[in-house]
Amino acid sequence: MIESLNHLPRPSSDNATLADHFSDLAPPLTARQAAVEASRCLYCYDAPCVNACPSDIDIPSFIRNIHQENVQGAAEKILSANILGGSCARVCPTEILCQQACVRNNHQECAPVLIGLLQRYAVDHAEFDAHPFQRAASSGKRIAVVGAGPAGLSCAHRLAWHGHDVVIFEARPKAGGLNEYGIAKYKVVDDFAQREVDFVLQIGGIEVRHGQVLGENLSLGELQQQFDAVFLGLGLNASRQLGLANEYAPGVLAATDYICELRQAEDLNRLPLANRSIVLGAGNTAIDMAVQMARLGAQDVNLVYRRGIEDMGATEHEQHIAKEHQVRLLTWAQPEQVLLDDQGRVRGMRFARTQMIDGRLQTTGETFELAADAIFKAIGQTFDEQALSDHNAQTLAREGDRIRVDEHMRTSLPGVYAGGDCTHLGQDLTVQAVQHGKLAAEAIHAQLMLNVEAA
């Protein structure tokens, strides 16, 4: 349980009622809705939506398949480009990707085609008898994949498809990464994340070993020795800190820790509830945290950000969700002090008002206090340095705190590839991670096959 929040009360609703609050945020399309929506697609040539999709899904083509009642064909087309097409359909910020590019955004066209929901419809209704992709003849090559998140799963699947054997080393008890532990519960509901993992592993040739932590019981050097190639899909496992006094007092918690707990909870009624919550941050994780706390029954949820609305990382769509849940968005306020009661627990936070002066964020000297039972930090994730602590890992070239990779996802170490949030490339999105994993697998495959030919 979340130690630092144990003193808080529990939600007043029972588990069944609370579970209802965490059903699909965007309910799936019915067959009729899918048919109507599919018919709105103009089947563009050189379609802008495809160019906007980080994982290169042939969107007009799969929508046409749906419209022609070939749902399995649609799903196979999606999955051949993005093996996690089911979760991407749920978690992708389509409003800034494919759907933003849809030509039907034009003011004369009313609204974009609901590409995400159509993708979900196809993948959810495909009903394959067997895994749709057949492995190539065994290459005899073995590849280590570190991390069973979207990047690692995508990479492993593509490698297995090409006939290689893969061992995934995963720290947590379950595979799936953020889909399993980090996404708002109402975006990926029930056990979908695990069902998707099962589907990915169905291809064969992939072994997942749990409790394997790079930098603890695993080192990059060993992996390089034992395998023909290594892929690092480590994610960003450390939450940024405020650097304030009392940051570790009861009542202060990283939002990702709470979301993880919430997603794994069998009884939502046993989760600590902060009736008055402060969420610090401006990204989608901050919104997820605030909205979930509101759905658990919190009466007063404040999302506080030190800059303005226009600077927020969360999309307009996400901000709208927050507002719908009566989450208050407070901007231009910077955390100054964690306020504690006489038992040493959080009772609120003092903020300094901020403003931009000459392009620099500065405090105005004015402060204010917000009462709160808990403070959730969602000010960004950062690299867990422990993971790259062995000798070989320390030599990896970095870009800021991330691992530097080229367009083929190659790191500075020969035979070592990386992808997803732990690299500096692209946006920190599930779909981006899937694409990285896929590209890395293709690069690994090409390199290994080249070596075979040369030998």
Partner: protein, 424 residues
């Protein structure tokens, strides 16, 4: 307001919108509802000799567009399945109650003089305004030597028409089947037989679709199917052409034409009238939406006529006929070129790929720095085929602009490139 009333082949009606002989005009109940809704006339569903026809179940199937809109309906229903006596009694009463509406009776009896001689006086006695000869029904009746079996043989058309003119004083409208090669042959035969008008088209032989699980075409009767008659908006282009062919045929010049085939809006009706129709008949659109559609058709037609300065249907009937000709008389030197309104363009690329793959490679795909596309017509390559305009989802985005070529009118008959040209 424009006057929508007409006098067609001697039959008066308050407007040119009539219901065609079909299920909507099967009995008094429907016809009264139609008149209440405002239809100018009806053609009562085809009467025949007793015993009445027997119908099967099921009877209709459809061809759908991408949004499940019905493009066309196929039916295997026969002529009336009620006795002659009931129909005649109802017709008499309805005409009495609705004297200002046109009430035409559709007829189909065996192709023998005695049969026609027997039924015509009975129909005339109802007070009906005219008769329409069903020479077009493509299913069920031809097997019995009626319907399209007659309509496909010009000599029979002429003969039966003549019998009708002999034994009946009412105007005779001959309904033509499109299931022939040259519609003018049927129209000329009707004209020779003394017809007061022709109406067209009747339904087209069709199979709309196949149930691929059961491997049976639709509509399904038990575990079998049969071809039916096709109607609805999908047949409109075929009907319009046949109407125009007759309208511009010197042999039938002046023969009144009642246009039928996929009419569902005032614009459809106006088009049929412009190509030579004096009245129109509607069926499928009413079957899909109910009789209420006539209100919008009357209102729309009347407003459009006002906007054009037409005071009556006759003012514009046939106005497009003189602009319809044979290909050989078209101006070879006329040239249009596509122009894309870049402000209206939504960047879907459909014009580009259509032209690139299947036409003249005349639309360039210029990728912009922001990842969007700009599509531009390459004037020198454009032949003015209209395909880009057709494939564009945005109305009026692509305009076909006439070019000043500086060349005089030249048709193929006089074109130097024609090895068989006529000396000018």
């Amino acid at each position: 307001m424009a006057d929508l009333s007409i006098e067609f082949a001697g039959i008066k009606a308050p407007n040119p919108f009539w219901l065609a002989s079909a299920p909507p005009t099967d009995k008094a109940y429907n016809v009264v509802r139609a008149f209440e809704a405002g239809w100018g006339g009806v053609v009562w569903k085809t009467l025949g000799e007793d015993p009445a026809a027997v119908n099967v179940s099921s009877r209709y199937s459809a061809h759908y567009g991408v949004n499940r809109e019905v493009m066309g309906i196929n039916n295997i229903e026969l002529i009336t399945d009620r006795s002659l006596e009931i129909n005649l009694r109802e017709i008499t009463q309805v005409k009495k109650d609705w004297p200002d509406r046109a009430l035409i009776v559709s007829l189909m009896v065996p192709c023998v003089e005695e049969s026609w001689k027997a039924i015509l006086p009975l129909v005339e006695a109802t007070g009906a305004d005219g008769i329409e000869l069903n020479f077009g029904c493509p299913h069920g009746m031809p097997e019995r030597g009626m319907g399209a079996a007659v309509g496909q043989v010009p000599e029979y058309v002429e003969q039966v028409t003549r019998w009708c003119k002999t034994y009946c004083s009412l105007p005779v409208i001959v309904k033509l089947t499109p299931n022939i090669t040259d519609i003018r042959q049927s129209a000329r035969a009707a004209h020779r037989g003394g017809a007061d008008a022709v109406s067209l088209i009747n339904t087209i032989n069709s199979i709309t679709s196949v149930d691929l699980d059961r491997m049976i075409a639709l509509p399904i009767v038990g575990d079998m199917s049969t071809h039916g008659g096709y109607c609805g908006s999908a047949v409109k282009p075929i009907a319009l052409n046949m109407v125009a062919e007759i309208a511009r045929d010197p042999a039938t010049r002046g023969l009144p034409i009642c246009g039928i085939g996929g009419i569902g809006s005032w614009r459809d009706a106006a088009e049929f009238i412009a190509l030579g129709s004096g009245a129109v008949q509607v069926c499928t659109a009413a079957m899909l939406h109910g009789f209420r559609i006539v209100e919008d058709m009357k209102d729309g037609l009347s407003r459009w006529m006002d906007s054009q300065g037409y005071r009556s249907i006759a003012d514009f009937s046939g106005r497009a006929v003189s602009h319809t000709t044979d290909w050989k008389y078209l101006d070879i030197n006329y040239q249009v070129i596509a122009r894309i309104d870049q402000d209206a363009c939504i960047g879907c690329g459909r014009c580009h790929i259509a032209c690139e793959d299947t036409s003249h490679q005349a639309i360039a795909n210029l990728r912009q720095a922001d990842g969007s596309h700009r599509y531009e017509v390459i004037d020198a390559e454009c032949v003015g085929c209209n395909l880009c305009q057709i494939t564009c989802p945005v109305q009026d985005c692509i305009e076909m602009v006439p070019q000043d070529t500086g060349k005089p009118f030249l048709d193929w008959l006089h074109d130097p490139r024609n090895p068989y040209r006529e000396a000018s």
